[in-house]
Symmetry: C2
Subunit: 475 residues, 2 copies
Amino acid sequence: MKWKPNRHSHLTIHEQIVDWMKSRIENGDWSIGTKIPTQRELATQFQVNRSTIQLALDELKADGLIESRVGSGIYVANNSWNVLLNNSQPNWQQHIDGSIHKPNYHTIQLINEYEQLHHIIRLGTGEIAPELLPTKQLEHSLKELALDARSIGYSSPLGNETLRANLCEYLKKHGIQTSSENILIVSGALQALQLIAVGLLEAGSVVFHEQPSYLNSVHPFQSAGMRMISVSKNNHLIQQLKAYKRNRQSLFYTVPTLHNPTGYSLSLKEKEDLFHVCKELQIPIIEDDVYHELLFETTSPAMKSFDKTGQVLYIGSVSKTLSPGLRIGWVVGPSKVIERLADIKMQTDYGSSAISQLIVSHWIATGLYEKHLVELRQQLKWRATFVEHILNQQFKDIATWTKPEGGFYIWLKFHKPIVNKALFLRLLKENVLINPGYIYDSSDLHHIRLSYAYASFEQLKVGLNTLFEMIQHNK
Amino acid sequence: MKWKPNRHSHLTIHEQIVDWMKSRIENGDWSIGTKIPTQRELATQFQVNRSTIQLALDELKADGLIESRVGSGIYVANNSWNVLLNNSQPNWQQHIDGSIHKPNYHTIQLINEYEQLHHIIRLGTGEIAPELLPTKQLEHSLKELALDARSIGYSSPLGNETLRANLCEYLKKHGIQTSSENILIVSGALQALQLIAVGLLEAGSVVFHEQPSYLNSVHPFQSAGMRMISVSKNNHLIQQLKAYKRNRQSLFYTVPTLHNPTGYSLSLKEKEDLFHVCKELQIPIIEDDVYHELLFETTSPAMKSFDKTGQVLYIGSVSKTLSPGLRIGWVVGPSKVIERLADIKMQTDYGSSAISQLIVSHWIATGLYEKHLVELRQQLKWRATFVEHILNQQFKDIATWTKPEGGFYIWLKFHKPIVNKALFLRLLKENVLINPGYIYDSSDLHHIRLSYAYASFEQLKVGLNTLFEMIQHNK
């Protein structure tokens, strides 16, 4: 026992003694029930006053680490270890519970987790199947990329210049006329929403969205304290918007083409009407257009194409088409807005992966992207037909659906409200993962977002059969 | 004039008339000073009551678009265009002003902007020079990457598994023992701070940091509503922490090795002391260790290596060493914390670039990374020596500095408080960009963060000479 307090420490003498004793207990040198030396002995050893020892012992007693036994002395307490463990670890749970960002719903956390497991049949995944990804072509294009040192440094605030110039050309096919100063490269569409949430809205602003909505399954706006209002598409839209808008700031979030989760598209007339209603009420529009390239037959102008005054923030991405792993998307908007979002992006992650930007730029410029899209649409269409065939055979009496016009999803509606968390969990036990409607509209127990994009044909067959059997079994 | 209101529109008749008239004015069909048809004419044309016309005209008058001239009729107002422009564009500035995230300081926005211009001499840039980046080797390694479809899909919440396993091995060199479940891959260190800010702290929590601090030049915590407290390293640290902590949640942010902006490193003893003080007060530590690999001579254990109880969240990155454009960093911490941060990352951007992760994994696993670091350190050391030589020749009488032990920076201290925004702007006019001390500590007018990492030898010479001349001239 050679330790002594250090008179030049930043800690007071009694604090050092407390620490030393705690470490005795922690190391197990003083195990539970150990009798502690007397105050006199300790005072002598440490060359301090007995009152200092008293102070240290009082603190340890208050912490529950030691206890007096009358007439016998002071002992290491029975639960000292528990106390120490609690004391010495930061209380992370408390940190987490009180913090700002909302956790994902439990169902979504489970989806994120189980999507990692290879044996799971993924009936709801919003991602193209591994075999639909142009993996070999991507690998090949990596070999063709010429890096230059400037392009792999920190990105310019708006993102790679060549990529933005190529996007300007590309976006013309959706009727969008823009210039590269009006484009911000982001790490996927979700990041765009995140930047808009913290960069363009005061807390408590209203975010209008369709019902059901992808926005209910992620929380960029909710975590920033926005008020989410779902509106239904009917003749009273303008009244609904007026009623909630009042003097608050607001935005209208929409996926007008191949909506997530329903797969529906607005007609040209509906797009125009929504645009004009929002314009009249001065409600900026966020047009999330990440599925647009996957329309099977017709193309349809983006709402952004009507926009001459900076009413619409347009979001695109290659995550649903080329590869989600690239993490590349874009926002098109008025330069003032784009500069603001770029400023926040610089404060958030200093830009998106330079290599990913180079790859996307290369794919767009060389036409590889367009060529891949033609093939991908064909593949998705085959898959849609296959799933519809199964649905027609098995599900006709218990559910309804609409023939998909593109994208990934069939919004399968069961006659009865059976799509609850219990069903989700029971299916998970059978290794079948679904995206239940309630993650897009908490009151919805009728729908499943069925994706024909990810699982293999065999898995689609087995998975849908499992789903059917389970529903029959539980009737 | 064939237009008529549509009785089946979602808009009321008078709203449609207002819109139509606005569009006349907007298109220039009704230019300023144009006399508008009489109420009777309009009522006939539109087949509506005169009272409906009256309602529409009143609204346009209230908006300032039209004006009555007594006894003469109604005319398009002089300032109608201004009114229209204001009305038809969403007021984005108001959106921006009221929103949550703080803008970058103006000086930092200028730095971000001017760093893009090729003719600018960058004396403060926190980035390795293009010629120090292993561009050709990176290009070569792209050719060697074998992609598989799973790895370019959406990432697992924690990031690429192989990369995390490789990092476990790699981190042992800093004394860190961890497992891959305790590592989250992020898009650079700044994103890690962002996730921590919204995922682990309640609004109003205290974030302790050194003075000066990199944290003053970015706003992950400030934008989340945290209270920033700078503490000075002295014997009273524990009192300072106790005084501000009270019952609030808190964190201590530190760059203990090759600090940004000063370039200083804590000694082993200082690291231990800081660790134990924070542990005692149950203040979790964020150890930002992104410059550690760039120590010229000795290595030094990370504070994380002392940690047995999950006290320290450790942040690393390849942005300062391999390439900032990859946007790959990592956080090491207790699994509960890592899961929480991963959950928010999934909600923020669905993971980091898969290709970037594959590249970093490849570089670490094959030893390319270590080999590159040896060369990079040597190059940086030469640059440091070169800059010290210039400083010794020119700046000895007006400033002091410490010989750098690694990294990018010399924390150049002028005897007089001359480093203000005017100096920054005057230098910018001469095409010389500096990082003034005040962006790291708003009250500091003595320092410049001088970086020998980015500019070429010739530029360093010219830039420092310009700086010197300007200071002499303005004495």
